[in-house]
């Protein structure tokens, strides 16, 4: 992998053309030569591919288990990532541990790759906490449910990194629908203006709940960034290797003072928007079938086979791990207990607050009444 982005490496118009969507591995598992991007993954051998594969299988299992936990009433809601494993893992695995990710609600695999503990993935969905982890422990911000808001946070964080004189990079994850929000566009304006070391990583999973991407954009999503002065790449989001290469390029550009880059990972939301959603109301089942043929996990399996890896053995090991992970997830989930009532007042402010402290005391007195009665 190159350590610098050569001066000659320019993200050209062709990178953002449909025809030129970056793909290094076909759905059939064949490795496609690409002189521009191959050098960026020349260090990615069979072992690392196998570990991507493992991560993808594990998060898919986590996802399935979480969906089951929701169905069983253990979670209030779950937004499945099914189908987007490659986009999330290919990119997150390219990050350095000091890089900082600002995600939306669906990036469970990003959180996983960053080291978020299993039950922490579920806290906010179980409703026992507003968010699952301390952002500074894993360098992943609290997930943003307000669509697009996090892109500005990533830009601000990146600006801070520049001021600190470090080569840490911020990456913002968001969806195709998010690109319509003012905030995402303002983030591009600010990132370009301040040349902030930020990567805009758009998972275009073709849908924003029930709205196909065509409602948001008539062009490719990746076409938008260049007008803001931000180079962009369109990449096969179901190809973990291509995503990995593209993210490395973008990160390296940012680290070396090249400013922001925009990546559109073309992928597909194979499941419902969330466990509350019913895609049969709006989605043609054939479309799903087409995309199932482009499954991100299957193709790496085939690629590994082509590389003479014993995929059956790998599968056995990985599936065992997945079973264990699912068990741990479930156990962790049901163990997540509701916090005590008065904690509702915690962390509104960083210190004393005359109004809120009084309200808290009043409520404590009110609650104590019941204890007395009992």
């Amino acid at each position: 992998m190159p350590t610098t982005v050569s001066k000659d490496f320019r993200l050209t118009e062709s990178h953002i053309r449909q025809e030129d969507v970056v793909q290094l591995v076909t759905p059939a598992g064949a490795r496609v030569a690409n002189p521009t991007f191959d050098p960026w993954v020349d260090d990615v051998g069979a072992d690392q591919l196998a570990s991507f594969y493992e991560d993808m299988v594990l998060v898919r299992r986590i996802d399935t288990e979480a969906t089951a936990l929701q169905r069983q009433g253990e979670l209030g809601l779950w937004p499945p990532l099914l189908g987007q494993e490659a986009a999330q893992i290919g990119s997150a695995r390219a990050l350095r541990s000091d890089d900082f990710a600002f995600t939306s609600y669906r990036e469970h695999a990003v959180a996983w790759c960053r080291g978020v503990a299993l039950p922490d993935l579920l806290r906010m969905w179980r409703g026992t906490a507003a968010s699952g982890w301390n952002p500074y422990d894993v360098n992943v911000a609290a997930p943003a449910i307000i669509i697009g808001a996090q892109t500005l946070h990533a830009t601000g964080y990146a600006l801070g990194c520049r001021k600190d004189g470090v080569d840490t990079v911020a990456i913002a994850y968001f969806g195709d629908g998010a690109t319509s929000e003012g905030d995402v566009n303002e983030a591009m304006v600010f990132a370009a203006s301040f040349q902030a070391p930020v990567v805009f990583f758009c998972e275009n999973n073709q849908w924003a709940i029930s709205e196909p991407v065509g409602v948001q954009a008539r062009n490719h999503i990746a076409d938008r960034a260049p007008g803001f002065g931000i180079p962009s790449l369109r990449v096969d989001g179901n190809d973990v290797l291509a995503v990995h290469a593209a993210t490395r390029v973008a990160l390296e550009r940012a680290r070396s003072g090249g400013g922001p880059t925009f990546i559109e990972a073309v992928t597909y939301r194979m499941g419902p928007h969330t466990t509350s959603d019913d895609p049969t109301r709006y989605r043609d089942p054939d479309e799903l079938a087409t995309w199932q043929g482009r499954d991100p996990i299957a193709r790496i399996g085939l690629l590994l086979e082509g590389l003479d890896v014993d995929v059956e053995a790998l599968d056995r090991a990985v599936n065992a791990k997945a079973d264990e992970t699912a068990r741990a997830l479930r156990a962790g989930c049901v163990a997540l207990a509701a916090p005590e009532p008065l904690s509702v007042f915690d962390n509104v402010f960083t210190g004393p607050h005359s109004w809120l402290d009084r309200q808290r005391s009043q409520y404590a007195a009110y609650l104590a009444q019941f204890d007395e009665e009992a």
């Binding site: 929000e181 029930s210 709205e211 007195a365």
Partner: protein, 339 residues
């Protein structure tokens, strides 16, 4: 003459049928929002409307609230009456500028030349176990904004009647739908007359006036029933209109009871309860036996769902408020006495 028919509908269905009637009656009525087309909205409130009225009138919007509301402003300039759906309470803020600086002010800013007959439908409030930003009660922001009407129905009949009145109004209306009551059924007469001005006395009583709106009306009614068993007579008032407030109705009640309890899910500080307490005190000072009592959400962000039962005013907290208004000794008596 049309025959009056009363049907049992859920609150969501009652809204659906109001939208349907509005679309039928006035071809200037349009619906605009995220996922309101084929999906019928995340609460299915617009179910079937795109199929029946076409995607020219029931429009899936790009994912941008300022865009939705700003587009509705332009449509209003052109004579259209757009009913916008904001998917959840917590997602209205990106559109705040268009609401406050444009929708609310354009009639004034054009000396009355331009009308803004826009209705913003907003499912609001908690109690459904949702994640953050999905359980908010932002009504006071809009009630504090001159030029907007703010209303909230508590039952299917009002939801139907008030929504049709809101759409027909030449003023912009924030229409807050108590989302945890979407599935509650009730009789709906689609031809019943109605307005967006008047409060309703839900339960008559003589000892304490309990004012609320939206999802809490049901809780207040239960509280009144419980109190009745203890010999306390609560008059429950459903405000329906949150701006303006029908103070004549509230005042009439308080002059009789001398005691007022106000309850809302929204945060207390500078919330609507403060306005009601202040206005009623201004109007009924000499009739009041006790300061108005507020039973509200806490001044914290809406908490994670495991804590929402504490945040939300419930029957016990309402009755505790009633006790305080009656100066009955209770846990908080100390607070009100020596605070």
């Amino acid at each position: 003459m049309l025959q009056t028919t009363t049907r049992q509908l859920t609150l969501a269905q009652a809204i659906n049928s109001a939208l349907r009637r509005a679309l039928q009656d006035d071809d200037k009525v349009l619906l605009l929002g995220e996922d309101i087309g084929k999906l019928g909205g995340v609460f299915r409130v617009t179910d079937g409307l795109q199929a029946d009225f076409g995607s020219d009138r029931v429009m899936d919007a790009p994912l941008a609230e300022s865009g939705i509301i700003g587009t509705a402003v332009g449509l209003a300039y052109r004579g259209y009456r757009t009913v916008c759906e904001i998917q959840f309470d917590g997602f209205i803020y990106p559109g705040f500028d268009q609401i406050v600086a444009q929708v609310a002010k354009l009639h004034y800013r054009t000396q009355g030349a331009v009308k803004m007959p826009i209705t913003l439908r907003v499912p609001f409030g908690g109690g459904i176990g949702a994640v953050e930003h999905h359980s908010e009660s932002p009504e006071a922001y809009f009630a504090h904004t001159a030029g907007l009407r703010v209303v909230s129905p508590s039952n299917p009949q009002d939801a139907h009647t008030m929504l049709r009145a809101a759409i027909a109004s030449d003023d912009p209306v924030l229409f807050f739908e108590p989302k945890r009551r979407y599935w509650a059924k009730g009789p709906v007469d689609e031809d019943a007359p109605g307005d967006i001005e008047h409060a309703a006395v839900v339960t008559a009583g003589t000892d304490v006036t309990l004012v609320t709106y939206g999802a809490l009306v049901g809780v207040a009614r239960d509280a009144a029933a419980a109190a009745a068993e203890d010999g306390v007579s609560i008059e429950v008032i459903d405000l329906r209109s949150l701006s303006p407030i029908d103070f004549d109705t509230v005042e009439r009640s308080v002059r009789k009871t001398g005691r007022l309890v106000i309850s809302h899910e929204a945060q207390q500080f500078a919330g609507l309860g403060a306005e009601i307490a202040a206005s009623v005190t201004e109007r009924c000072f000499d009739y009041l036996d006790h300061a108005p009592v507020r039973v509200t959400g806490f001044d914290t962000p809406y908490p994670p769902s495991a804590l929402e039962e504490y945040f939300l005013p419930d029957l016990d907290r309402m009755l505790d408020g009633v006790d305080r208004a009656l100066r009955k000794p209770n846990s908080l008596t100390d607070w009100t006495a020596n605070a």
